[in-house]
Symmetry: C2
Subunit: 215 residues, 2 copies
DNA sequence: GCACGTCAGATTGTATACAAGATGTTTGAC
DNA sequence: GTCAAACATCTTGTATACAATCTGACGTGC
């Protein structure tokens, strides 16, 4: 339902960057992109502005815009913030989530388990994301929910890796059940703590991956 | 040090919106703004894109961009998220803040007290902001720090009001001392809890203001 | 009197033209 | 041979021109 071509271009570029099509620091050439998308420079420039605003790219005046992939440090920081955000969502959801929300969580968990049984990583990944999104929603704080969704989206590409750790899916599943239990019990502190730990583990696994990769 | 005129325009417009120069839903006319800033529509459009990306304005394709001030509900949500973010910063800072950071906190608190003694709201307000920013920095998480700063900035205009509550500055000051004590002791949970409460009070005071205003 | 279609005006979206600054090369002096 | 300065080229930033579409009013038909 996109009417402005600039928006479509921005979306496409964002996907390309997340897909690793560009190297860190690579310049996004307005003319080449205009050519590539068969438009003039104007909509391309508007799309680039969006990338800059999102933090995906950096603009240096009179020099151009350059893709800016997060380095290891920033990634760890983002994972840590994700853990804090999810913890906050859990804290609020513990006292606010509706019966319908709890029901959705249970269903999502069932679908997660099915994915594990079939050893379907992609499916587990998708259902796991939904599980967490239900908790964001459960916080009954639209602003917090939006921010959590944004960061979840930004970390998507990097979170995919760590699920491949042996036994990680099973452990993750067990944690899910713990989370649901805390939410059902309305145990604010436990929900916050368990969710923080659950997400923080992702960051730690990712850290291990980075370390292995560098050695 | 701005070279692009579009950036300067975006900054100015943002200030104008925060200063309440525009009503909610008001359309930002490209031609009028171009005239006003003595430029063509192009840099104005780029500036408007920035406002849209920041969430200050909303764009409806082929219709224009309209300022979008947060309503009471969204404001409460933002205050609540601010409390959670500050709590997270405090949690992390409790185990990471440096001696230098603690020293800065002590100094900021002294300046806060001086402002109270002189009953200088504006001064207290400024020093109070710095106090919190030191804690963001103390989290040793640049990403989290940036997000906290962004939200703090967005809430600036609304936080100003609640400091005028009778006795609020004094109470706030007492809470500051409690925060510093928790950070010095490295008490993670206490730092998180006290900061959450300290910031959440702001939201509640604001809520009272809104209620009084509507009655 | 009401509904619908058409048309004029206004406004956004895109293309293109022009201006200004940055980069890199070449040329000349030492 | 090396360094520096001027110049050519390329790229971004801005202005303007054109295209598309939305709004609102007017008029016509029922």
């Amino acid at each position: 339902m996109e009417i402005r071509r600039a928006d479509k271009i921005a979306e496409t570029l964002e996907q390309h960057v997340f897909a690793g099509k560009y190297r860190d620091g690579e310049r996004l050439d307005e003319l080449k992109l205009a050519d590539q998308f068969c438009v003039s420079r104007t909509p391309v420039r508007e799309a680039l502005q969006v990338l800059v605003a999102t933090g995906i790219a950096e603009q240096i005046p009179r020099r151009g815009v350059f893709v800016r992939l997060p380095g290891p440090v920033e990634l760890m920081e983002m994972f840590e913030m994700m853990a804090e955000l999810e913890s906050s969502c859990g804290r609020l959801a513990a006292s606010r989530i509706t019966e319908a929300g709890l029901q959705q969580l249970a269903e999502a968990n069932i679908r997660c388990q099915e994915a594990i049984n079939q050893n379907d990583h992609a499916q587990y990944y998708a259902e796991n994301e939904k599980f967490h999104q239900i908790i964001y929603r459960g916080s009954a704080n639209g602003y917090l929910e939006k921010q959590a969704l944004r960061l979840q989206s930004k970390l998507r590409a990097y979170r995919k890796m760590q699920l491949r750790f042996r036994g990680r899916m099973g452990q993750s599943m067990a944690e899910h059940r713990e989370i649901v239990a805390a939410l059902e019990a309305g145990d604010v502190e436990k929900a916050a703590a368990v969710l923080r730990r659950h997400v923080a583990v992702q960051g730690e696994k990712f850290h291990q991956l980075m370390a292995n990769f560098n050695s």
